[in-house]
């Protein structure tokens, strides 16, 4: 199986569970009115962030979106500080200035989440250009949704990355909907990866609920990018388990469709695979789940106990 060590597989499983439990906790806190603003949960898409980030190096970059908690955690962010940011606390990654939609941790190559749909695409290309100009062998993974692929920035950013052979992996998380808008309402193609042909780069469709498939596709794209052969567009077919944001009941999705996707839960699938291949036992899995749950509880405690920023801090950080 892809020659991945047990250690690596376990780490991937742990990260997926971490994202799932983190998001469920955010949802719970939101329901208790403890989270200001809005939230866009990553539940159901964990295999994408973890498959991609597990195939990257620590010094590689990612860019993220409004649905970004999972990207952060997969890249190695500290859940305590992610949670603190979501609660608007001074100890959060952005000192409470960013919130759920704008988390960044430059120390791990997480170049930040933008809430402007599609805005991260050219920014990722720019990080790729910088890598090329600085002559390192890093790569950038750029996360965005199916909806974002209809922005002009998608065309402009990917084309530029293509013509300059920039080391960027464009990861389209196609969860079939942009808010209430089904993919078929806004594009005549089924595979967004087909658009890669227009830029003369490889376009790959992968099962976004299969963490190993995502890992494999990303590894190939990263290898290509590091060799200077340019960008790849990877389309991960996936599904968000919850509504678009906070209280969206997602009534626009047919029940059978939701059920079919819930049956393809990426964590359940990976767990079964690991059990089937005797990588982990049921007891070990339960142990991991318990450890992660404790880590999330600790993150909540940390975030809740952290202070809010002082009001005047609003004036800081405008200019460097």
């Amino acid at each position: 199986m892809l020659n991945l060590s047990k250690e690596k597989l376990v780490e991937m499983y742990r990260l997926m569970v971490k994202i799932r439990l983190f998001e469920e906790k955010v949802f719970e806190l939101y329901a208790q009115n403890l989270v200001p603003g809005t939230i866009h949960l990553y539940t159901g898409q964990e295999a994408v962030a973890v498959g991609v980030c597990s195939a990257l190096r620590k010094d590689d970059y990612i860019t993220s979106t409004h649905r970004g908690h999972g990207h952060c955690i997969a890249k190695g962010a500290d859940v305590k500080r992610v949670m603190a940011e979501i609660l608007g606390k001074k100890t959060g990654y952005c000192k409470g200035k960013g919130g759920s939609m704008h988390i960044a941790d430059f120390s791990i190559g997480m170049l930040g989440a933008t809430a402007v749909v599609g805005a991260g695409i050219p920014i990722a290309a720019g990080a790729g250009l910088s890598i090329k100009l600085r002559g390192t062998d890093q790569v950038v993974a750029c996360f965005f949704g199916d909806g974002a692929s209809n922005q002009g920035t998608f065309h402009e950013g990917i084309n530029m990355a293509a013509i300059w052979s920039l080391p960027v992996i464009f990861v389209c998380e196609n969860n079939l909907y942009a808010m209430g808008t089904r993919q078929s309402m806004v594009m005549r193609i089924e595979n967004i990866a087909d658009r890669a042909a227009a830029y003369g780069i490889p376009g790959v469709v992968v099962d976004g609920n299969d963490v190993l498939a995502v890992y494999e596709a990303t590894s190939k794209a990263a290898e290509r990018a590091r060799k200077g052969e340019g960008p790849t567009l990877i389309e991960c077919k996936t599904y968000r388990h919850r509504g678009h944001s906070r209280v969206d009941p997602a009534k626009y999705r047919p029940r059978e469709e939701v059920e079919a996707w819930l049956a393809k839960d990426p964590i359940k699938r990976f767990r079964e695979k690991l059990l089937g291949l005797n990588v982990l036992t049921e007891a070990e899995i339960q142990q991991i789940d318990r450890e992660v749950a404790a880590e999330i509880e600790e993150a909540v405690r940390y975030a809740m106990e952290s202070p809010y920023p002082a009001p005047e801090e609003a004036l800081e950080d405008v200019y460097a």
Partner: protein, 324 residues
Amino acid sequence: MRRITYREALREALREEMRRDPTVFLLGEDIGRYWGGAFKVTEGLAEEFGDERVRDTPISESAIIGVAVGAAITGMRPVAEIMFGDLTALAMDQIANQAAKLRYMFGGQVKVPLVIRTPFGGGVNIAAHHSQCLEAWFMHVPGLYVAVPSTPYDAKGLLKSAIRGNNPVIFCEHKLLYPFEGEVPEEDYTIPFGVADVKREGEDVTVVATLYMVHKALKAAETLAKEGISVEVVDPRTLTPLDKKTIVNSVKKTGRLVVVSEDCKTAGVTAEIAAIVAEEAIDYLDAPIRRVAEPDTPIPFSPPLEQYVIPDEKAIIRAVKEIA
């Protein structure tokens, strides 16, 4: 009179204008039957008018406005929705270079009857990309009109005028106003652009405010009245064209001016209004003009930070007392 919300007033204006004129149509992201608009303004309209006239679009702000411009110069009256005011930035070329300038560049041959509805404003903790008030950007572009309704009555009357008019209008709504209730007559009416409304009469200080700030100014006026300071609250209702006369006349009466707006102070709405009064009524001023606006920062997420940057009633009261 019956009371309806700002949201319902906007929806009524859209519905009535669509019934009246078959060239009126709506386009925007998630405005149709599956969502009804992020703030539910267009809810139910796709059911009545069909998906052709209440058109869901891809997430493509630049093309939404570009397409609307194209339709507007060829006989239609599009009403585009940009889901958040901050995202007008993505469509800025189509708004500022195309919609605003086509008539002038082409020597008056063409009209651009286009309305762009969009919600501005903070107060709901959604941070720097979803909270700004950017009216001043559009005031800086000749060829655009800028409407800033603060009540359901104004929202409905101004939106109808915007749709019936022949110029591109940036129709600025405020997120916190959607559930706000007010009196709106059943019968058809319009409110002309360029006519301010004195929302409260007073003798001592003129406070000019727009959008949600009108309500904060009215509350401040209420408090100040108890302390013996009589405040006149003037709501311009449209920033372009701006009813200078009503503002200047009020200042001539009171001799004192406070301008309040929920945007950055530098080169903002308050700067323009203060400058006009300084130019046209300085001899009537008995005290320096005071501006209540946001410090020049993006809008932060965390509640205590956001509350700090968005002007509140207390800031208005302080400013009035400084010069009263």
